[in-house]
Symmetry: C2
Subunit: 250 residues, 2 copies
């Protein structure tokens, strides 16, 4: 093990960790980036600790850059997880200890309060990288995820709940979709996040009424039927519309 | 100083604090509960630390019970404040040290990451109580608040921003208003939170269309003109409507 890859726990604040729910959209499915732990082979959310001179935002940005090779990720803090039993008695912690990263095992055994972030990334641009404690970093569809270490499944579900609630207030479509997309793709994204089917005509009518989409001259190629138009976001109008929420303000 | 009132820092986790923005509604104004520091006479948000066996929610509930004498307060975590410079170099920390609470001054001088909560309380029921570090605990109107210690003004503004965004998703009216209220009072609450005037007829029409209000037979007494009707919330319908947001779901 060389010095660079060694986990230097002395640099980090005690008691504070962060966990990131990284969402991507691919093949009409909402995906989440997960790590497989080296020893137990259990799956976990990407996460990390906070250096003494770092804000939480800087720490989360650093962690996500390491896991995805992306800069400028859309990141949103959504909840702190602080059940006193969430980590210090959990067998998953043994995995971190087994990694041999820390000569002082008590560091991982302390109580951690974890700050949850969700991140929205362009699936096609991310390059998943495992961390010191894992041997795989992969995208998983929501329906493939049954168990995660610690309280990570709860963190994931809470992130989804926030994503749903913030759909009208955050540039979620803009950050998850490629630059050019079709109306069916946009609708599928909304359906996946909301967990329900939407009426095609109503969706299109509402979406167009916000004046946040630009219809391009190009059409999507490769489909069997009549090719759908491609759209891109009018970012200025989008940002303005989100300030009041997409349903309009009071 | 008796033993009970002594601040026992040994019981608390290092690095983690919480700050509460407690909102109340009175005389048609949104009010915030503040403490005046004993020594510098600066104003601060109520806050506290987390015991080793407590979740953040339990800690916030405990702190708010101490400051308001109320149980079952509506509490919502909204953001963590983690700028590395937010507390450990701030002169306001001297106030805590001057209090003599802590024989080991370095405890207050450490870096704290603070979890922000907003709370909604029935103004008429709260009984403000100063804490160990303060000599006054009082409601202040938003327009009276110019400066606060540390980054507390930023925390307050962020709480307001969240309140605004969550107006359609959280039972904000229910928690801030007395059990019975008039339509003008409800409108004034919305106007105060949104920071803008609303059209009286549109507001009433929208509000009634959600089917979340019950008009009572009584009217408000004491006014000079025709007394307005009193309303109460239909809590079951209210909770259902909030699940989709008051503008209705997709």
């Amino acid at each position: 093990m060389n010095q660079e890859s060694k986990f230097q726990y002395e640099k980090f604040l005690n008691h504070i960790s962060l966990d990131c729910v990284v969402f991507g959209f691919h093949d009409n499915q909402l995906k989440v980036l997960l790590l497989r732990m080296k020893f137990t082979k259990e799956w976990a959310l990407p996460g990390g600790f906070v250096k003494e001179d770092e804000s939480l935002e800087s720490a989360a940005t650093r962690v996500l850059k390491e896991r995805t090779c992306l800069d400028n990720i859309f990141l949103k803090q959504f909840k702190v997880f602080s059940d006193p039993q969430r980590s210090n008695t959990n067998p998953a912690v043994q995995d971190l200890i087994d990694s041999g990263a820390n000569p002082d095992q008590s560091w991982f055994n302390q109580r951690f309060i974890s700050v949850g972030y969700y991140a929205l990334v362009d699936f096609s641009k991310a390059e998943p990288q495992p961390d010191y404690f894992s041997d795989l970093c992969e995208w998983k569809s929501l329906n493939e995820i049954n168990t995660l270490i610690l309280d990570h499944l709860q963190i994931l579900n809470k992130a989804l709940e926030n994503l749903r609630m913030q759909l009208n207030y955050q540039p979620i479509g803009y950050n998850l979709l490629p630059d050019k997309f079709t109306m069916p793709e946009l609708q599928k994204l909304y359906e996946t996040i909301l967990g329900k089917e939407l009426d095609r005509r109503n969706f299109q009518r509402k979406m167009l009424s916000y004046n946040i989409l630009i219809r391009l001259e190009e059409r999507k190629t490769g489909g069997a039927h009549k090719a759908p138009f491609l759209y891109e976001f009018n970012l200025e109008n989008y940002q303005k519309a989100l300030q009041n929420g997409l349903y309009g303000g009071w």
